[in-house]
Subunit: 341 residues, 4 copies
Amino acid sequence: MLTFESDYVEGAHPEILQRLIETNLVQVSGYGSDCFTESAKEKIRKACDCPQAQITMIAGGTQTNQLVIDTMLESFEGVVTASTGHIATHEAGAVEFSGHKCLTIPSHEGKMKAEELKDYLDTFFGDGNHEHMVFPGMVYITHPTEYGTIYTKKELKEISDVCHAYDLPLYLDGARMGYGLAAENTDVDLKTIAELTDVFYIGGTKVGALIGEAVVFTKNNQPSHFVTRVKQHGALLAKGRLIGIQFDVLFTDNLYFRIAEHAVSLAMKLKKALKDKGYRFLLESPTNQQFVILENSQMEELKKHVGFSFWEKVDDDHTAVRFATSWATTEENLEKLISLL
Amino acid sequence: MLTFESDYVEGAHPEILQRLIETNLVQVSGYGSDCFTESAKEKIRKACDCPQAQITMIAGGTQTNQLVIDTMLESFEGVVTASTGHIATHEAGAVEFSGHKCLTIPSHEGKMKAEELKDYLDTFFGDGNHEHMVFPGMVYITHPTEYGTIYTKKELKEISDVCHAYDLPLYLDGARMGYGLAAENTDVDLKTIAELTDVFYIGGTKVGALIGEAVVFTKNNQPSHFVTRVKQHGALLAKGRLIGIQFDVLFTDNLYFRIAEHAVSLAMKLKKALKDKGYRFLLESPTNQQFVILENSQMEELKKHVGFSFWEKVDDDHTAVRFATSWATTEENLEKLISLL
Amino acid sequence: MLTFESDYVEGAHPEILQRLIETNLVQVSGYGSDCFTESAKEKIRKACDCPQAQITMIAGGTQTNQLVIDTMLESFEGVVTASTGHIATHEAGAVEFSGHKCLTIPSHEGKMKAEELKDYLDTFFGDGNHEHMVFPGMVYITHPTEYGTIYTKKELKEISDVCHAYDLPLYLDGARMGYGLAAENTDVDLKTIAELTDVFYIGGTKVGALIGEAVVFTKNNQPSHFVTRVKQHGALLAKGRLIGIQFDVLFTDNLYFRIAEHAVSLAMKLKKALKDKGYRFLLESPTNQQFVILENSQMEELKKHVGFSFWEKVDDDHTAVRFATSWATTEENLEKLISLL
Amino acid sequence: MLTFESDYVEGAHPEILQRLIETNLVQVSGYGSDCFTESAKEKIRKACDCPQAQITMIAGGTQTNQLVIDTMLESFEGVVTASTGHIATHEAGAVEFSGHKCLTIPSHEGKMKAEELKDYLDTFFGDGNHEHMVFPGMVYITHPTEYGTIYTKKELKEISDVCHAYDLPLYLDGARMGYGLAAENTDVDLKTIAELTDVFYIGGTKVGALIGEAVVFTKNNQPSHFVTRVKQHGALLAKGRLIGIQFDVLFTDNLYFRIAEHAVSLAMKLKKALKDKGYRFLLESPTNQQFVILENSQMEELKKHVGFSFWEKVDDDHTAVRFATSWATTEENLEKLISLL
């Protein structure tokens, strides 16, 4: 049965598999010290226009979030996040497992507002004694957010400015970064992200790789002894080449961006078609995830023919569901989906 | 340059890559709930002759050890290990990171002795008050050990009996299990391991996979809510298929065992050739890792021509080095290595 | 300068000091195994009408909360609390330090509502997959709350019923429990608390002791090896007698209750006097903490003459401040405070 | 029944109780910000001849060790200790609970040797890659040790030099420090300790206080936000005065030293008397703990008349037992003990 359940229902982009085959017999050292990983890092540095970037390849997003947050925070500090942030909701407490609190501020369709962030931080760094409270030690945002929405360059700049006014690092979770960069009319590119954040990761798993996320420290600020810290978190792979090769391919000839553009363009086509048919959306998403409101009985009927994700109850009679596109989605299958709605 | 540095210098066995390609467009759900992973589990259950086995695929060995130990121990308990155990020496404190102490007993070429284990446990469960001490909560062994040595069935049975007399689970780290099972004259097979241990893992990364270890709970004793615990440790992969497919291939037509036999037979050939040439070994290893003692100047010369691992200083003039074989080692390259020595 | 800053500005009730002197030369074993601690436990069991109660004396409240929560939760579980709960706000992340998340629901003047608790729990234990979320593993309430408010017996019963319907333990933080039990018109007594909760602690530090909180497990549900767990948390005192003697005195001739009644009756006197003078209160507190709204300039003036706690900004011109009474507060000093307002 | 089981079987020195009574009604702020604590700190600074010392009062020794070690180490670092160190043996894994490994080196009657420490550290900071190992981040010693032995000034200096050559802080656990300072012929005084270590604690509980240990950072090296870190560990007492007053008394008119001298002089008397009677000792202890070897049947008989601690089995027929003296031990009771042996 056809499914639009998520952007990780298929394997990897064929060019990645092809390269795994070509390189299979090359003998290299382990733990990320291989030439493929080095090449990938160099290409990412260029794509970010950030020659000093310190880059590490990690298997998955939750692992990455736990690692970055735990190694950048002092033990008594917490991480500020919108209340809908992935770390605060759907990572099974991985951040708390490593001893840190998620400090939540309001979410606006997945995004935080610079002004609300500032107000929150003011309470700590202003008057009064907060010695008995968890101190904010970094700020976490997602781009695109869990709702497919994206920040504008101006919004990112404002958040970045607030963070730096309080000397807090800004961390951007880019599990689906490609789709954000490929959104119509966005003014945020990879260079902007490298400039405005202190650390971020480029999601591979959900943008055409089999596995892997590339963590980028942008300001010569990678925690000391980082390999040991990665190992301590159980996140160091013996065959580091597996992720290195994939990112090397993804950042060759703009494959990462081409994959994202393909998926976003199909998502926009879906949005337009459904709007034309009169469907309402939970919110306006410019990226590869679309949140459509269905009448419950229609949803039940649809389930028999196509896969999608339950998102949230809207009212007694309606439910928002998610359709996601990926590198593997075809025009043909998208048409099938549209015809079913 | 040719290298025998480790058994993870190449990619994956070609049959694995082939299957990744064949299945690439099949749409499946994430997080290990896919049909490939299910098929792999079923094959492993059969290979273990353990129909009730509860199996989970994890990316790497340190991750696996941290996860299994942390989720099976009560918070105040520690894990008993030989002093040379990987968890006690080369995992950067991943076990302590999750709050537990490694309780070390003597190592005999990497192995623990049942009698010494018993004596150690007796001190806790016998007379006297040990309320201020870390309680032993499980026993950890490696097979093969970090030194390539293996337990006999009798030794495993004795250790297992001691554990169970004290109601402690026995955990076997099988990062290189295949090579142990393929050792000449071993009487330990997978079924024996499943029978005598409470949990173990079958190493994939070092036995022909790109990545992945299969954790097997043998006694209906998998900790509750295991998926959530895996997620909390940052160890749940979105594209679970990646590991599932690999183990499905490894356990089809005995590929896992064929890979190991190939590597061990070449290692035995190396051992014989070097013994014939008069080389001494650090110890007798019946598996794919061979620890040869070289005169220091010879070692320096050899370095220019072939890769190997520094293991340990033997005396002022001699050093033990490790050569490892793998699925990808060829007769031709082995001959080259021998001719260099 | 006179102060009403908190209920821990003085030392201990004189009867406690007297007893410390009387018993000083008696030789007893350490770590809480002494006869004084045993006697205190027996008296508490009687006061709670809970013969099976398992009791442990701990030095302070945050220590106690961390210990109880960490040892009762599974590692992947969190604790549900009103958003204003002490553990979620003013314990510097002690709960997260031990690996657990505080799951917050709305606060109503410090209290949670059974219905909102039920709705929250329903989302986890109803339909759908919550494997990627932190599971609620216990419910935490404070009585009196951080705002001096108290639950009625009916409210406690409803919360308790919801907890038990989902098989979750209910934990009551009684840092100031005495003042709640001494509140006018309350229908909650110690026996009720022992009946409706699974574990609670009787606060000593803020109710006349020098130090110490008595943790009471009411349902034969104390975690195994509890002494070792206490030691592991750094919470086991060598001279356990120090806290044992104090609780023994506090639960002799109802001293604990007499102390609380004294403080509450003076607080009520303060409330009446200030209401008569036209002061507004932040909320209605029936216990020893009173939250009065002052005009800012008046607050500044008052500061010169008497100590109190800043509580929160009400608007640009007004601030809520806290006055607390204790065992040591005298009628005379209270009159002085009233005359200053 | 008379007991010499430990040095914490009685309450506090009478001068301490007297002062608690005198100060009982003085109103002071909480959490260690009171005038008594300030006065105590000032006296300790003088006694250490260390004007810049940063001092914090903590309830107990295990709490203190966990706090100091966890807050001074980076998350991937461990603490080096003699294998018999209290943290490695009898603190129920409190150090591991906070995520750190105890790295053990040989113990010589409780002491470590500078040369062996150096050899151990050399392996990390010399050649080779240790990225997969726990890094030594500080060195922990006890003075007196768990066996009552003490370091000479020269030994301390050598250990201190090794630590500082590798830029590692030296931490001295002084749970029984007073007895070490009062040992006959010792050349180690408090000033020496402050000079040679980076942080240490002065034990109160076992040297005449009801409770309390004073942590002293000697080199302006107290971790930032220390109050918050103390709170996060559950170690911040509301009535901080309780410990402050006690240390204020202990460091007035040399009470701390007078208490220790009294106990040590009685211990020496015991040692001489038993040697005269032909008893063997487990080792030579110059402090208040004496480890005497008894024939087993004699030990059983003695048990009926006097309390002592079982220490360790010496052989099938003999056992080492511990007798400890304290501020409260009288000549008369000591004579009774001697007469029983």
